[in-house]
Symmetry: C2
Subunit: 751 residues, 2 copies
């Protein structure tokens, strides 16, 4: 498979053997509104897969649930902006706000505080259309219909003004970001009557954000007024902390004003060039159609049959796995590094928006199946960051390390890719980088280096860190072994076993151990204090299972299958009451199992390691039936840039990567009746599910490529080779299928 050298990554390097007629377009099943209510925090607006631009409406910010700028409970729009996060627990971005308007220019004088949401309009969901690559809404206040679409690096606006226009104008506002984001320096310059350029330097969750932009207008403006806060400034350009420009038009020709806004991490010259490269013409409908084609190409990588509801939830989930990572370069390949230097022609597409603590679990394994063309570029982006900031990314955003969450989870992603045969990056550098991650002298990693547990009275969130590090270390060991670094293999294999240090056999929970060797008291397995206890956004019930790299070892700690199974049953059946003041991320509860947060995600599949696959099937169906719906509040916790949806995509297909890097997918209970995973080179992996129904949730037998298949897991190699798997479902647990010791999944992973 060849890697493209240009920035235009959406010219897919393999062609699907599909008929993408309007009728069976899969984008019809996607509803971007799903997850925009409750705490899903998804982006709503127009973008293309992995696009640098997410062009969408921004509400008045009302708190945590506005991390993406939009929440379904709001009826306000302050403008349309070009960058948004999707599903995070912290808000940021919101660059280059555009708001069309009529009437008097609304910038209040007489007060030091500028009007925060001066152009805000209400809207109604009844007047709103959201679909992949297209968003439209009617602004109540101005009676303007706003339509948005996008290419990778350009937002395209079409505003239909009312027939009678009173002082039509457009507000271009660089002041307010979402939540945490504040402007540092902003700049607007009018180049000519149809072109403006500028930049917005801001600080927020990501400390040093630099976004350059260029605006092209479909008709000449009649005049422009520049404001810094509420002070009007003279001339054709202005620099200040909160620059705004009012673009005035004598009249809007045929009532339709169009705008193209290119963005760039490098320069406004590049932003202009991005417009020329991606959307040279003024054909709005064509760009909408092109965005739809891009989405359908990606969505068609998995074709499923199932109920309409399943299809809506599934394809929206699949769509949500492609909002991030986002391109962080220009059409010509230029990008700005974490060191703030500009890099030309690096030979890969540079990406950003990496929420690795979340996404290493299932999102990146999914990419190794359906986005083989992205995997190496993502690792190359990691390695560039490594060279620029001295360590692999943790939670990387717009060329900034935010150091959010715990662990060094670039490691499992790199190891998984390597072990699955991906090599199109500097392999030796990659190994050096992952090993360096594990040799940092901070955050308790120094204890793991001495093969010791992390004392809970010395290090915050010690248990969660100890458990996550052991997972990452297992991955290093495996990569070391594959690279014939035997000494490292032995050393990191020992570190991978350190999870056992946190297990208290008296109470049968993972819990904080103090420097003197005693357990932390008092101990309450449901207690949680957000980011200030021995766990990370969770409690002992939720963290005790976090040993995906060695479930057999965990079973052993419980004294064997019986004790392990009993305790795991309790997890799903005890009261869901969590302590007041606990982490808000503990959500989507079944018993004390929290689907709403990531460290839990593999847990339902652990029954398989104890020879009880039907129990996994029961729980997985309970989760898919009750915690994923097609309603606006259809996600039970933060989407977290695709991990919550990746869990669903895998689980709906019937299997899940418990171990994030051993190439083994453990069976659960498929929701689909039929699925085709389209692979490069016209290969396909076909899944047939016979007799599936809400009651028939238990796998009875399997046929793989014509032969009986008794393993309770599927190998990555078997999928990507193409082939056909048939699963036969029944309404009773099978006493034999997948149960025998030799058929259970293994920590060591498939060969």
């Amino acid at each position: 498979m060849s890697r493209k050298k240009t920035g235009l990554i959406f010219i897919c390097s393999f062609i699907f053997s599909l008929n993408l007629s309007a009728q069976n377009k899969l984008s019809q099943y996607v509803d971007p509104i799903i997850g925009s209510d409750a705490h899903g925090h998804v982006f709503v607006g127009a973008n293309v897969p992995f696009g640098a631009v997410q062009l969408g409406p921004t509400n008045i910010f009302e708190g945590w649930d506005w991390c993406s700028g939009y929440h379904y409970s709001s009826n306000t729009i302050v403008g349309f902006t070009h960058t948004h996060l999707s599903g995070t627990g912290i808000g940021d971005l919101n660059d280059v706000l555009v708001m069309p308007a009529t009437g008097k220019v609304q910038l209040d004088k007489g007060t030091k505080t500028d009007q925060k949401n001066g152009y805000v309009s209400t809207f109604s969901h009844a007047n709103e259309i959201a679909k992949p690559g297209y968003y439209s809404v009617i602004l109540d206040k101005y009676k303007i219909k706003a339509e948005l679409t996008a290419s990778e690096r350009v937002g395209f606006h079409r505003y239909t003004f009312p027939a009678k226009q009173d002082n039509p104008h457009v507000m271009l506002d660089l002041s307010d970001g979402i939540g945490w984001d504040k402007p540092v320096e902003t700049y607007i310059k009018q180049v000519n009557s149809t072109t403006l350029v500028g930049y917005r330097l801001s600080t927020g969750w990501a400390k040093d954000q630099r976004l350059y932009f260029a605006v092209k207008l479909s008709q000449p403006l009649s005049s422009m007024s520049l404001y810094d806060s509420t002070q009007v400034t003279k001339g054709m350009e202005g620099k200040g902390r909160k620059m705004k420009a009012v673009l005035n038009f004598k009249a809007i020709a045929q009532n339709v004003l169009q705008m193209k806004v290119g963005i760039s991490p490098v320069s406004y010259e590049n932003a202009l060039a991005n417009i020329t490269a991606e959307i040279p013409a003024w054909d709005f409908a064509k760009v909408v159609a092109s965005a739809d084609v891009k989405w359908n190409k990606e969505l068609a990588k998995i074709q499923i049959e199932g109920s309409k509801e399943t299809k809506k939830v599934f394809y929206t989930a699949l769509y949500h796995t492609m909002i991030a990572p986002t391109l962080f370069n220009d059409a010509n390949g230029d990008y700005r590094g974490t060191d703030k230097k500009v890099y030309h022609k690096p030979g890969f597409d540079n990406y950003t928006t990496f929420s690795l603590w979340d996404t290493y679990r299932a999102f990146h394994p999914l990419y190794t199946i359906i986005h083989p063309d992205k995997v190496s570029d993502i690792i190359s982006s990691f390695l560039a960051i490594y060279k620029q900031q001295g360590k692999l990314p943790v939670w990387h955003l717009m060329g900034n390390e935010t150091n959010t969450m715990i662990g060094y989870h670039a490691v499992p992603i790199i190891a998984d890719a390597y072990l699955k045969g991906y090599r199109n990056y500097d392999v030796e550098l990659a190994y050096q980088a992952i090993k360096n991650s594990a040799m940092q002298k901070e955050d308790g990693i120094e204890y793991a280096q001495k093969l010791k547990y992390i004392p809970a009275d010395k290090v915050n969130e010690a248990v969660a860190k100890g458990l996550e590090y052991a997972i990452d270390d297992w991955c290093i060991a495996r990569m070391a072994k594959a690279m014939h670094k035997e000494e490292d293999y032995v050393y990191f294999s020992k570190r991978a076993k350190l999870y056992a240090e946190y297990f208290d056999p008296q109470v049968e929970f993972m819990r904080g151990k103090l420097a003197d060797g005693s357990w932390r008291k008092p101990f309450d397995p449901v207690a949680s204090k957000h980011r200030e206890d021995d766990y990370t956004e969770g409690n002992a019930w939720q963290y005790t299972w976090l040993v995906p790299q060695d479930p057999e070892g965990l079973i052993h700690l419980f004294g064997g299958e019986a004790g392990f199974t009993r305790k795991l049953d309790s997890l799903f059946s005890i009261s869901s009451v969590v302590e007041a003041g606990g982490s808000p991320d503990i959500s989507g509860l079944i018993g004390q199992y929290a689907q709403g947060n990531e460290p839990n995600h593999h847990t339902p599949y652990l029954y398989a390691y104890a020879g009880k696959p039907w129990k996994t099937a029961q729980v997985v169906r309970q989760i898919t039936d009750s915690l994923y719906t097609s309603k606006p509040d259809g996600l039970c916790g933060n989407e977290d840039l695709g991990q919550m949806s990746s869990w669903y995509v895998f689980s709906a297909l019937g299997f899940y990567p418990v171990n994030p890097a051993n190439g083994e997918y453990v069976f659960g209970s498929p929701l689909v009746d039929h699925a085709v995973i389209n692979l490069p080179g016209a290969k396909k992996f076909e899944l047939k599910v016979i007799g599936n129904s809400p009651k028939n949730k238990y796998i009875q037998k399997a046929i793989l490529n014509g032969k009986p298949y008794t393993k309770n897991y599927l190998r990555h190699a078997a999928i990507v080779a193409g082939g056909e798997l048939t699963l036969y479902m029944g309404d009773q647990p099978s006493a034999t299928w997948g149960v025998n010791l030799e058929d259970r999944p293994k920590s060591a992973g498939a060969k």
Copy 2:
């Protein structure tokens, strides 16, 4: 002076000898918008002085600056509600939201989260009128003109619909409170086609709020739909957590719909009776005029001459001193106590909304001058609370003790009133209550009881508590002495001196002293950690001066006048940089002096005790000139229910009650050119300021009732006796006036 026995307290018990013609109506100078931007947090809407109803617009809640429900930076209105706080640092209330609308009923289905601000409309300040007792605005979304006015317990709405009406209706919404307030149980019942009743029980800052209401419509509704969240419920009544009613009208007669909404803390029967008692007719203009008369009667208690700007700032400040306390009873005198029992005919007007940590300093002393009819009722309300909850109020709201802030500051208010001759309450009970306050065994008070300092490693905010308690204890001593309780006098006088325990002569600051007698290290006099250090919303620079009960003693700690003056000069001249993460209440800085928070307020006047009255004049003029303006952001910190404005009212008149209970007002520098304080019985105290100007800020000499007056303070008795004071101003400090030891103010107070 006789105390009225009815709830209608605004029939003033003395008549002013004034001509209240339209031309010289003082309400013309009031701009309720002042203080609604930045962090003033004032209420904007229609009310009468001390009214239980504050009927005004509520914006979408965007955070701390929306404590009152309205912030100038917002352009949204979610509805008009009947209760609002003014100037607090915590949000609450927002009962009985009314929103007129046209078009489709907007209650979204298909999601568990109800649309929070479903009827939100934008508005423009250009279409907004706010004046005492009247508020109007045009709702952009519906083209409806909303006008509001009020009596004490009734809100009066007038909505002018557009000529072409599409499904005119009114949303009556009991769901969302402001910020902290959440509904517990709500109820709506249609009694007949023009009458509805109900209640809203909610919890927030005040834990158990019970508000009953009645609605009268000017025309019959055609139908009503009831909703609990988004589920429509059948019938004429409904109970639920978040009840909403849609009131439908076939057409709005003459396009004008009027509504009267009575509220009651007792029952909806009483709420209905309040409407009958206060606004029996449908004459909106008459109620507006009546509210204006009520405001003008109160405002006319102080008539000033000065610049237009001074008048605007002064009368708006005076207006802000009469938003709270608020009536918490019915027109028939009934009220609901802190014990939730209903009390009938208690013999006084029961009040709520007491922010005593703020208001004991200058607000209540101001009341002893201009609201003699209120003082005893306020104390009677305190004593009722004492009987019902076992202690005097701390921060009391809607029949709930919130226990916000520190100290037992009902004490100075009661002592000041007693010492000034107010007796119309149970005096022995009052003394028992204030003494009990000082004998509580908590919050470090137990250390003061043993005549010991409060150890900073045992009690949070130990220094602030120690200083505030010493002030309160001084007041108890003085009241004890006046009541011939000699033993208590001696004991509490000792406690009043405990402030000196916190003074470290090495660094010359008040600072935290640990249980072992050592000072807390490290020490940084500008450091502050909001509500988690040795101070309360302040730092060592700000708290070191908090000895208003004994400035001579404080001067002594500094080794005398020279050292004291030098340090006080530094306060106003050093850098205003405060530590990042410090208290947001540290605002309005001049040096490290913070006009934005109350513990500082007396500080500029301390120069007088060291014989440097001109330095007080300089600082006071700097504050009044730079930190109080007539713009929306004209307040430099939370208004705090009148204390921020009381400081201005006193300072503009030229004097200030440094000691909150010794009947002595220390001179500063008058802003007014002339003032008349109108007193009961047609008495007046007239202030003439000769030669006043921005440059002529120094008092040169004074004539009181025809005789030379050399004291640098004015006695309360001299003011309330009526009389005439002439101050002669000059542009240079006077070397003689008010400087001599015998002319300086004294801790002991005026006899």
